[in-house]
């Protein structure tokens, strides 16, 4: 077939239904919005730019606009960053350790301070929150007889939207959180219902207590 005879537009139209933009191969959005996503759908979402785009739209709706950290918080983060740089130059340095930068935590099992143990399985989860240049990092580590594989869901209260999953070391880190209220749910391996539910208030407030 010569170039003049070839109908490129007809072929482009014909291939369009095979494109992710058309959603012909995608699950209904009701299924896409299910929490958690079944494994087969997760595989599809990983390969489908259209579904990934839809899920990011859903996450943007469910998660409120991250609050901008206030001046006091930013100052504390800056001081902490400087402190760490000084300590890098002067190991074991002379500066006292800072108080936790953002630290109000409440919930049924909440204690006080920058880290605490939460009963989980036959052991505990160690929950630590650490100031970082881009916000606050939360770390969950399975200890004792706690399952080494677990899922942590974090998001606005009542709508945990972001998921962290342990790899092999029994730890999840959720990074760069802005000040605000978050719901944290932790599920054991294969569980459908959370075993741990906490509300985290990451704010400028000092630790409750």
């Amino acid at each position: 077939m010569s170039d003049a005879e070839f109908d490129a537009a007809a072929w482009e139209r014909a291939l369009a239904p095979l494109a992710p933009l058309e959603r012909a191969l995608c699950p209904p959005r009701e299924e896409l919005a299910r929490e958690p996503l079944p494994a087969a759908l997760r595989r599809h979402v990983q390969a489908c730019p259209g579904c990934r785009d839809d899920l990011r739209d859903l996450a943007a709706l469910l998660a409120p606009q991250p609050a901008t950290a206030g001046l006091a918080v930013r100052l504390r983060l800056w001081v902490d960053r400087v402190r760490r740089r000084v300590e890098a130059l002067d190991p074991g340095g002379l500066l006292p350790a800072p108080a936790p930068a953002l630290a109000a935590l409440r919930g049924d099992d909440a204690g006080r301070g920058g880290a605490r143990l939460i009963p989980f399985g036959d052991g505990a989860l160690k929950l630590s929150y650490l100031p970082a240049p881009a916000g606050v990092d939360l770390e969950l580590v399975a200890e004792g007889g706690a399952p080494r594989e677990f899922r942590a869901l974090l998001g606005p209260v009542g709508q945990p939207a972001w998921e962290g999953r342990t790899a092999v070391e029994g730890a999840v880190r959720l990074s760069g959180l802005a000040a605000g209220s978050y719901a944290l749910e932790v599920l054991g391996p294969g569980a459908r219902d959370p075993e741990v539910r906490l509300t985290l208030d990451l704010s400028e407030a000092a630790p409750e207590g």
């Binding site: 007809a10 014909a14 058309e22 191969l25 730019p49 990011r56 859903l58 709706l61 209260v157 009542g158």
Partner: protein, 206 residues
Amino acid sequence: MGDLVARAQGGDPRAEEAIHEQLRPFLTRRLREARARRNWFWLTDLDDAVNRVFAQFFLALRAGKFEFRDPTGLEGFLLRTGFFVIMNLKDKARDARWLSLHDPEEGGLRFDVADFARSAPEDLDHRECLKMLAAAVAALNTNRRDVIERTLLGQSVRQICEETGRSGSSVSGLKFNALKDLQARLVEQGFLERCGELLGLGEGAR
């Protein structure tokens, strides 16, 4: 709020009005924020979208699709209803060819036709056709493949020019030659016999 929801589920218009009044500012704010964050440039009439969401929301309530536990759960249900309404509006924008899935936030082109074909449900007729297309796309040279993948993601020639720095004639030429390569390879592999009817390709496409 639980009482209002129960009454709205029974079709009480005054309860619906009260819920609407309480939740409208919340929904409007969330839609406005999400529109800005996700660049929903096609969502031009926010009030209309909010009204559509509430219409669906009250239908769903009356249909018993929601069980009230707490106000936060109700807000979540309203937002999920909003998601479906917004996705319908997005589909309309897509039909008008306003949309592209090429997402710079995802590092640009993150689309592998072969992966996409493997993830399609087994029972879909499209799956076999997509597999054949994936093999043919994989055999294209790098530049033609890039243009075809961008086209499948919905990018227009103008958008491809903007992102690749190529001229309009260069992109059009690459696209034409890529489609011609695809046609030759697909026809040779029996694509027309297997998928021609499904995709509206007649004998003239041979």
